[in-house]
Amino acid sequence: MLRLPRFGIVTPTRVEDAVAALATPGARVVAGGTDLLPNLKHRLDAPPVLVSLARLPLGHVTRDGASIVIGAGVTLAALAEHPLIAAEMPSLARAAGLVASPILRNLGTLGGNLCLDTRCRYVNQTEGWREALGRCLKSGGDRCHVVPGGQTCVAALSSDCAPVLVSLDAEVVLHGPAGRRVVPLEALYRADGVAHLTRAPDELLVEVRVPVAPGPRLAAYVKWTVRKSIDFPLISVALRFDLDAEGVDGRIVGASIVAGALASTPRRVRKTEALHGLRLADPATADAVARLAGAQLKPLDNVPYDAVYRRRMIPVHVRRAVAALAAGAS
């Protein structure tokens, strides 16, 4: 039996009231609660008050000119099944549909998925477990068990939607006491697993804006876990190829490869220009993409499973995903 620590709760119906309630020092936002509640049950924080988004009107999915606008409160189940998302951004629909399990996707929201706390095998444990090993940087101690001697926590952002949305150049709308600001999703994250979000404590993520592909595009999301369900990603790579013509015979004119589950920020693979001019129909393209990703993506022993195995399997899974795209499956 895991009990929650004591806290008070507010369930505002207006975004402004939620933001005002976040002025209480230590207050935390709770959306679906599927990340926050297990973490509180594990005593990773002790907020005096939770500000619930359950009654806020943040459940919209609409088209606004050349963008799709998704409310932070949209559940992952709704996102995975939404016709507009399936048609315009299949890699996002796929990632949302692979999060956790069906019952958790009915609760978990997109906002919560993007603001997901970073995870580490040494910290997502009961308090007694953590105490036995000795506290680390993320649990009030002075050392890191993953990188001995390390002074920065490298706990992993294990959100399935974050790498995909970064690969699609999404922006997020943050609503704070002074109003709204729009930032690229990539800029929401910073390289510190203890405080990995650049959002201010009294800012609410209210909306995600994703530009619709201006031309032909093929995109995929690669997720590998030990079990086919429930587990957080152990390998997580979003692929996006912009093409000069529809279909697998089109030549790559833009490519974006973004990995999750490595450290506290999604990691963008560099030098993707090397892929320009290649055609997905050419079997050598899958190898080229796999080599590029494999050379740059280096898993650590922060999430469960052997890091060496994960490292070796990244190019394998990426190659398969590109081959599947070329074969018309996604």
Binding site: P5, G8, V10, T34, K41, V49, A54, I103, L104, S229
Partner: protein
């Protein structure tokens, strides 16, 4: 800010009114305030699905639902599938010997019932496997559960004619 919440919601078609501390989950309110112990408490952190109930018709793990957020909403537990006739899922699970220790069964039933209503036609084994992917069973190996849910959906269809 509330430390104690006074909740009014619909539980298995009947209105209930109950006070609970703000940090309690729906699972705790069901089991320790309302004596609805059909809903099981397993891992308490979203991993196992033993605590699955239906919230506004959708299957959710009640150990991760804050009680305060069910205000005014519709909650259904395994007790709420009781009716004048035996529910086709109970009958099929029994017939297939798909419950051994039975600890996972109430959660399986609630997830399966939500799935059958959503699909609205006889389901395939693959759809059941996907739909129940958040509900662990340590005894049966799943095969009999999947068969039973498929059978229940076919029986419901036959009954609807």
């Amino acid at each position: 800010m509330d430390d104690v919440v006074l909740l009014r919601f619909t539980l298995n078609d009947a209105p209930v009114e109950v006070a609970a501390p703000a940090h309690w989950t729906l699972l705790e309110v069901l089991r320790y305030r309302l004596d609805q112990i059909g809903t099981k408490q397993g891992c308490d952190k979203g991993d196992c699905g033993a605590c699955t109930v239906q919230l506004d018709g959708r299957a959710v793990p009640s150990c991760l639902v804050l009680a305060a957020t069910v205000q005014g909403r519709d909650v259904r537990t395994v007790e709420g599938l009781r009716g004048p006739a035996l529910h086709p899922l109970f009958d099929a699970l029994d017939g297939a010997v798909a419950a051994q220790c039975g600890f996972c069964t109430p959660g399986i039933v609630m997830a399966a019932d939500a799935l059958l209503r959503k699909v609205g036609r006889p389901v395939t084994a693959a759809e059941v496997a996907e739909g129940l992917a958040g509900n662990l069973c340590r005894c049966t190996g799943y095969q009999k559960i999947v068969e039973a849910v498929v059978a229940a959906s076919e029986r419901s269809e036959a009954r609807r004619g």
